[in-house]
């Protein structure tokens, strides 16, 4: 037993986060003390730490622990999201090896900063999953957000990247202000930051309903910004489009997942369904999936289509929040578990899809529009097949776990009496087929033009990431049991 005043009980449960943070600091340290930059080594360390964190998260599974006076809590819920976030990070980190070398000529040198920023953001997101206090939640959120701003603007000579970073930052800062203001009102109304304490205060009944409601709404909006829910999504299409594609994958997947985990925990633990945020969540869900799909349907750029598609998926996941209603809380664990499962699967599919864009658009320079994908499926069948898996699974066809998770999610809505929300989701899914299959149409149906770029190089790491994501997506169709069962158990524990 170490006697330095540290409590093992505080630190051990947070081992995954500590591993990520530690390796980030280690890379910085090496970077400071060595003359040259060691991009590859940094990637290796990062990959190792992600693997370690992943292993730790799995190993910790089953433990429920509070750390640092209950401001952090490690439970099935947080570990589930750790896994989801780390999967995305791993894919992004590994693929960055090839990606930055090609896309940014100075990339190899900049790789250390890039990796460190990624790791910090990852740590922030994981901490968001574990936070059970508005204080730690806010800090973790900013820890995730600030590196993300920098990462989006990472391609310093690229106008789109800068523009995207600037927009992301300005709006992110604005929404942080709303969030903090909301936190202040909740604090004022309940006198507490701890989620459980807030719930207790509300239960005690001695709160100003208007202040609490407005506060919870502002917090909801702040997190809605994070998950890019319409109408707080405005930053997302531009930031995703402008960002280096790996970062777009990271932000649109991991960051969104992290936003949702906080949303889920906060609104299930702290605010009972009687508080009026439920209306807002329903509105957000409906508007988000509809807007995302409609706008995605009319894009010319694959990357921007994916940006809107990720907005649409936020709408689906919001169903899990929206179905909380006074009558149906008993069944909400089901919907929540379904939402969690969908986010995990979504992380893989969405990241994989963005990585294909990274490969085609950035690595090979084939172009960003749908037309530029003409005939690529036949030229690189493995990637074409992987893209088919991602697109169809995102659309909710049974090439991957996306089919199961989306259906289970809709089933959750039906189970809570929101059959109409499920139907609306269904209509949206159908519309989404239009634009997802457009990609496949160009990749597989159309013939490649004569003057298409050479695709002779094979970036191993990028390929490996894409294929891993594809295989994992397909595997989740068959091995969906651990995901949904874990998620449901975690959701049940959370709601108790």
């Amino acid at each position: 037993m170490v006697e330095l005043g540290f409590q093992q009980a505080d630190l051990l449960p947070l081992a995954p986060e500590i591993a990520i943070l530690g390796s980030a600091l280690l890379i910085l340290l090496i970077d400071s003390f060595s003359r040259g930059k060691h991009g590859k080594a940094a990637v290796a360390i990062a990959a190792a730490s992600v693997a370690a964190a992943f292993a730790a998260s799995l190993a910790l599974y089953g433990t429920t622990a509070e750390a640092f006076g209950g401001t952090f809590v490690v439970d099935g819920f947080s570990l589930f999201f750790n896994v989801a976030i780390l999967l995305v990070t791993a894919l992004v980190v590994v693929s960055s090896l090839d990606y930055l070398e090609e896309f940014y000529p100075e990339g190899a040198d900049e790789l250390t900063e890039y990796v460190v920023l990624l790791l910090f953001a990852t740590a922030g997101m994981m901490l968001m999953a574990s936070s059970r206090s508005l204080v730690t939640a806010f800090i973790a959120l900013e820890l995730a957000a600030l590196p993300s701003y920098a990462l989006v603007a990472f391609a310093k000579r690229n106008r789109a990247s800068i523009e995207g970073g600037m927009k992301y930052f300005v709006l992110g800062a604005l929404s942080s202000a709303f969030l903090l203001y909301g936190i202040s009102l909740v604090y004022g109304a309940t006198g507490a930051f701890d989620f459980v304490a807030i719930a207790d205060a509300i239960a005690a009944g001695d709160v100003e309903p208007g202040v609490l409601s407005l506060g919870s709404l502002l917090v909801l909006f702040g997190l809605a910004f994070k998950v890019a829910a319409v109408p707080f999504h405005v930053w997302a299409p531009d930031a995703y489009t402008g960002a280096p594609t790996t970062i777009a994958a990271f932000v649109s997947s991991a960051s969104k997942i992290a936003g949702f985990v906080l949303l889920f925990r906060l609104f299930t633990t702290a605010f009972p369904a009687e508080v009026d945020w439920v209306y807002a969540a329903i509105v957000l869900s409906v508007v988000t999936m509809t807007y995302g799909n409609f706008a995605a349907a009319v894009q010319d750029s694959v990357k921007r289509m994916l940006a809107y598609s990720s907005i649409a998926h936020a709408g689906y996941a919001l169903i899990a929040v929206a179905v909380f209603s006074a009558e149906a809380t008993g069944d909400s664990a089901f919907a929540l578990g379904a939402g969690m499962s969908h986010l995990l699967v979504y992380g893989l599919m969405n990241t994989g899809a963005f990585l294909v864009v990274a490969l085609v658009d950035d690595y090979y320079g084939a172009g960003y529009t749908f037309e530029d994908y003409a005939g690529l499926g036949r030229k690189m069948p493995a990637v074409g097949l992987a893209m088919a898996v991602f697109m169809l699974s995102l659309a909710g066809l049974p090439t991957g776990g996306g089919f199961v998770s989306k259906l289970v999610l809709f089933a959750g809505a039906v189970n809570s009496g929101f059959w109409w929300l499920a139907l609306l989701g269904g209509v949206n899914s159908a519309l989404s087929l239009y634009y997802y299959t457009r990609v496949l149409k160009w990749m597989w149906v159309e013939e490649a033009p004569e003057d298409q770029v050479e695709l002779d190089r094979k970036p191993l790491a990028l390929y490996a990431s894409i294929l891993f994501a594809a295989v994992a997506t397909v595997a989740l169709l068959f091995a969906f049991a651990p995901v949904i069962e874990t998620a449901t158990a975690a959701a049940e524990a959370l709601l108790e």
Partner: protein, 100 residues
């Protein structure tokens, strides 16, 4: 003791001013300052409530929030430098290459 409603009113005012600035100004740095105003409005709220409730947690959050705001400024200014380098100005309305 001053009742918290005054603080709340004041902070709301400051928040609104900040928001107004964000919405109307073109200069990135001014916008950044306005965001800081908004953040500080929230901080003011929290401090007021903390004092009223006799709870130190709120004040701790404010400390963190200040630090975070500073970090935000650092990142933000870095990005604005890139904007300036590319556009020759920090007018936020100019970068509009991506839309729809």
């Amino acid at each position: 003791m001053v009742p918290p409603s005054y603080y709340v009113l004041l902070s709301a005012l400051i928040f609104a001013i900040g928001l107004y600035g964000v919405l109307t100004r073109r200069n990135a740095v001014v916008i950044l300052m306005c965001v800081e105003l908004m953040l500080n409005a929230a901080n003011l709220n929290i401090v007021a409530f903390a004092a009223y409730l006799g709870d130190v947690t709120g004040q701790i959050l404010v400390l963190f929030a200040l630090a975070i705001a500073a970090a935000e400024v650092a990142v933000g200014l870095g990005i604005f430098i890139l904007v300036y380098r590319e556009y020759g100005t920090v007018d936020v309305t100019l970068p509009r290459g991506m839309r729809w």
